[in-house]
């Protein structure tokens, strides 16, 4: 097998190498190797507790907040930069790697303030600039038409699906290169889910997505590539069609056909 890293930098945009991760003394990821392609949608699938969220949260180092949580070995490079290098500015990393959580979590403030929160953090105070960024982000998140007349209302007055799209708008306002999504539709009804999926599909050539999902159909519908994790190990990764249609590992086959719990 030829080394994809040297031939196609886009195919190795985020490169997880021999990555192991532990919460205190409990190791939950074991030697993960995974390449995430630029401007593609990568789905992480696997049974509950297999480490999908942990892997995702390792990519923007949001797990640094959890006490005792740290990588054990291996590395994660984004565009050739080792993000666990002590010289790396975590704040800058997180601005470049946006995240959307399973349960929509807008701040208890206005829709507008939620959208521009990241920009304000970055020190932008110019009202016109913020206004423009807010509009663009809300448009990107397909929310603008619904909220343009009520930007000053509390974010919590929106429906669940709208709140999740607001969270997406909040994340894209910083123009990250990567968007990490941890079961973004798990708390939503089917209609809201469909809208979020449409939105992700629309944005697919602007950002590189890594989406954790429980929903096999969603992975099939949305993603270009799929990685299957099981008990903290990466069992198989590849084109979504291959993973679902023609898996190389029996374990993968069992999981995608619903025979593994």
């Amino acid at each position: 097998m030829p080394d994809s890293r040297s031939t196609d930098p886009d195919a190795d945009f985020i490169s997880v190498r021999d990555f192991s991760y532990a919460y205190g003394s409990t190791q939950v990821l074991h030697g993960i190797n995974l390449s995430i392609h630029r401007r593609r949608i990568t789905a992480l699938i696997g049974p509950s507790g297999c480490g999908k969220s942990t892997l995702l949260r390792a990519i923007n180092r949001i797990n640094d907040l959890v006490e005792g949580a740290a990588p054990v070995s291996g590395s994660i490079h984004i565009d050739g930069v080792n993000i666990y290098d002590p010289a790396v500015d975590v704040i800058a990393l997180r601005r470049n790697v946006g995240m959307v959580f399973q349960k929509y979590n807008p701040f208890p403030r206005s829709i507008y303030e939620n959208t521009v929160y990241g920009l304000r953090l970055a020190g932008i105070t110019d009202r016109a600039q913020l206004d423009e960024a807010a509009e663009q982000s809300l448009r990107l998140a397909a929310l603008w038409d619904e909220v343009k007349d009520r930007l000053d209302e509390m974010a919590t007055s929106l429906s669940g699906g709208q709140q999740q799209r607001l969270c997406i708008a909040r994340a894209v306002a910083l123009r990250p290169r990567v968007l990490l999504m941890d079961e973004p539709c798990a708390a939503l009804d089917p209609i809201a889910t469909a809208r979020i999926e449409d939105l992700i599909a629309q944005l697919r050539d602007r950002f590189s997505f890594v989406i954790v999902t429980h929903n096999m159909e969603q992975a099939k519908r949305l993603s270009d590539r799929t990685a299957f994790l099981y008990r903290g190990k990466l069992i198989e990764e590849g084109d979504t069609l291959d993973i679902f249609g023609n898996p190389a590992q029996p374990l993968t086959e069992q999981y995608v056909t619903g025979r593994l719990v």
Partner: protein, 633 residues
């Protein structure tokens, strides 16, 4: 057999469960019932207050005490005004006579000191003198010698302040050393110093003749007025005494009649009725009093007119030219401004006097007003008791505000530090230490306030470099600020714990979201965590306020217990004045009043209001938490 045992034990456990359940339910209901009883008791004891106080105020009016107060109240200012003039005079005199007085005082002090040092020898000498002649002849020379030696030693030993010149000091030592009783040399120097002082004093006073005259004028101006007034006051007091006596007798008679009605035994009934008959008293006839008041009204008005005219006149002719000292000047100017106001206030009493009617009814509204907006809490007075709530309320509120203003930033900052910055090990000891403050008995805190904080504050306030602080230097060690500091300490544990809880309750989802958007820890704390915890912290502050308002021991010991509305003319410096509080007054006075008296009932009214304030504060805190409740994480 086996099944039965199982069933039996199952039943037993159901019974136990039921018992346990009802035990808990019982404790809950006991608490609620006790609370209800307390409220009921408070209300029952306090409810009579309005009636009793109304009756007292009616007597106050009917017997003419109110009439006297119409004049007496504004007239009270006259003494203050004369006082400030006297202070202006004495502070003007001081630089002129201070030296002479100090020299004389120093000489007198030295004489006392020598007397003290030689006291033993003097006593021996006096005993020897008192002996029969034969024995005296033997003992006296010895005693004289000893006394004279002691006098010499003492007058040589005393330290003389440099205010006396070297020559004066030598003379004084010499004169003091020869003070053998019976053969005293005249203390020439002391006499001389005294003469000198009197001369200087006279000269100085001559320079301020105008001011002295002004003081005399002001002091003598209301003489006629006061004379008429005190005549009236005597009449009023006598009438009040009669009215009170009648009321007491009447009350006793009613009780006897009631008892008689309930008595079964006809003999007993007859006895009771007879006793009741014996204590019958006619309601005092107040028409004579009212005629006298009517008769004295116009002379009184005339006196008021004359007095006010004199005051106005005086205001125009205050001898400002004589005064040079800035502080005396200031006093004089203030008095000059206050005098016309005083005269106006006196004149304003005239229409009130004319409109006043002894039999005007006292409305319930005005009784309520006299309690809730009354500016005087005056008890055990020989004239009239007043139960005005404002002095106590203002003391309680100011102290509570001081405490909250200090405790809020401290406890919130401590909570933020502990919750967000501290390492787990730091947290492990910070929290217990802060919560331990609660374990300090409040009487111990009061002790600290009296013995430590009071002196510390007073000493600090005397530092010249701190004199810019309003209210410094402070006059009283025990004051509202002192009490507020200690109450802040008492409120901190509650407020800290609740604020910490509020911070803890901020959903992790907000924190994650903020960090994922590139926030630094500080940004997350101040843009997300603190705002989200704000309502909880507000509730913490309110509950702290409730705790502080209800606290008794510390304020009783440390607040200074002066029953008066604080003087706000000193802006923020008002906090250094002493005050009394709602809680303190109950604790202090309830033990001393007779059950059922107006005073007793008034204290219960204060208790009811206190209870209502606490309830309101708690309800507000709850509403605040509920209103801004965060979504469950």
């Amino acid at each position: 057999m086996l099944t039965r045992r199982v069933r039996g034990s199952w039943r037993g456990s159901a019974l136990t469960q039921r018992l346990i359940r009802s035990g808990f339910a019982g404790s809950a209901s006991v608490t609620i019932i006790v609370l209800a009883l307390i409220m009921l008791f408070l209300l029952r004891e306090g409810a009579g207050f309005l009636g009793t106080y109304r009756r007292e105020l009616e007597t106050y009016r009917r017997c003419g005490l109110e009439f006297c107060d119409l004049v007496d109240r504004p007239l009270a200012q006259q003494e203050d005004l004369a006082g400030s003039l006297r202070r202006a005079l004495s502070s003007s005199l001081e630089p002129l006579i201070g030296q002479a007085r100090a020299r004389r005082d120093e000489a007198l002090r030295l004489k006392r000191e020598v007397d003290q040092l030689t006291q033993t020898q003097r006593e021996v000498f006096e005993q020897a003198q008192a002996l029969p002649a034969a024995q005296a002849a033997a003992a006296l020379p010895e005693a004289t010698k000893a006394l004279s030696a002691a006098l010499k030693a003492a007058s040589a030993a005393v330290v003389i302040a440099p205010i006396l010149s070297a020559k004066q000091a030598t003379d004084l030592r010499l004169q003091l050393s020869t003070q053998i009783p019976g053969k005293e040399q005249p203390l020439a120097l002391i006499n001389q110093l005294q003469q000198e002082f009197l001369r200087v004093d006279k000269e100085a006073k001559a320079r301020f003749e105008g001011l002295q005259e002004a003081i005399e004028t002001l002091e003598e101006a209301p003489e006629d007025l006061r004379e008429t007034l005190s005549e009236l006051k005597e009449l009023a007091l006598a009438a009040k005494e009669q009215a009170t006596l009648h009321h007491t007798l009447e009350e006793g008679r009613q009780k006897l009649l009631n008892a008689a009605q309930n008595a079964r035994d006809p003999k007993e009934k007859a006895a009771l009725l007879k006793e009741a008959e014996a204590s019958h008293s006619e309601p005092p006839d107040e028409s004579a009093l009212q005629a006298q008041i009517a008769e004295l009204r116009e002379p009184l008005v005339l006196h008021i007119g004359a007095y006010s005219a004199k005051v106005d006149q005086l205001a125009l002719h205050l001898p400002e030219a004589e005064i040079q000292l800035p502080e005396a000047m200031e006093l004089l100017q203030k008095t000059a401004q206050a005098l016309p106001r005083h005269a106006a206030a006196m004149r304003a009493s005239v229409p009130e006097l004319r409109q006043w009617k002894a039999d005007a009814p006292v409305h319930l509204r005005s009784v309520l007003g006299a309690f809730f907006f009354g500016t005087q809490w005056l008890t055990n007075s020989s004239w009239q008791d007043f139960f005005g709530f404002l002095p106590l309320l203002s003391g309680s509120l100011i102290i509570a505000l001081i405490a909250i203003a200090m405790a809020t930033p401290l406890s919130v900052a401590a909570a933020i530090y502990c919750n967000q910055f501290a390492s787990p090990r730091e947290r492990e000891w910070i929290k217990p230490v802060i919560e331990f403050i609660q374990a300090i008995p409040s009487v111990v805190l009061g002790f600290i306030g009296i013995s430590l904080l009071g002196d510390l504050l007073k000493d600090l306030s005397q530092l010249p470099m701190l004199s810019w602080i309003p209210g410094f230097p402070i006059a009283e060690r025990l004051n509202m600020f002192n009490a507020g500091c200690l109450l802040a300490l008492m409120a901190i544990p509650t407020m800290f714990s609740l604020a910490e809880d509020a911070l803890n309750n901020v959903p992790q989802a907000y924190i994650d979201a903020s960090e994922a958007l590139g926030a630094t820890q500080l940004q997350t704390i101040f843009r997300v965590i603190v705002p989200a915890a704000l309502s909880g912290m507000g509730a913490a502050v309110l509950l702290g306020l409730g705790r502080v308002i209800g606290e008794t021991m510390v304020v009783l010991l440390v607040a200074g217990n002066r029953i008066a509305i604080p003087d706000f003319s000193d802006s923020v410096g008002v906090v250094f004045q002493p005050a009394h509080t709602l809680t303190g007054i109950i604790a202090q006075e309830l033990g001393e009043v007779s059950r059922g008296s107006a005073h007793w009932q008034a204290l219960f009214m204060v208790g009811i209001v206190l209870f209502a304030i606490s309830l309101a504060v708690n309800a507000m805190a709850r509403a605040m938490v509920r209103r801004f409740e965060l979504p469950k994480s």
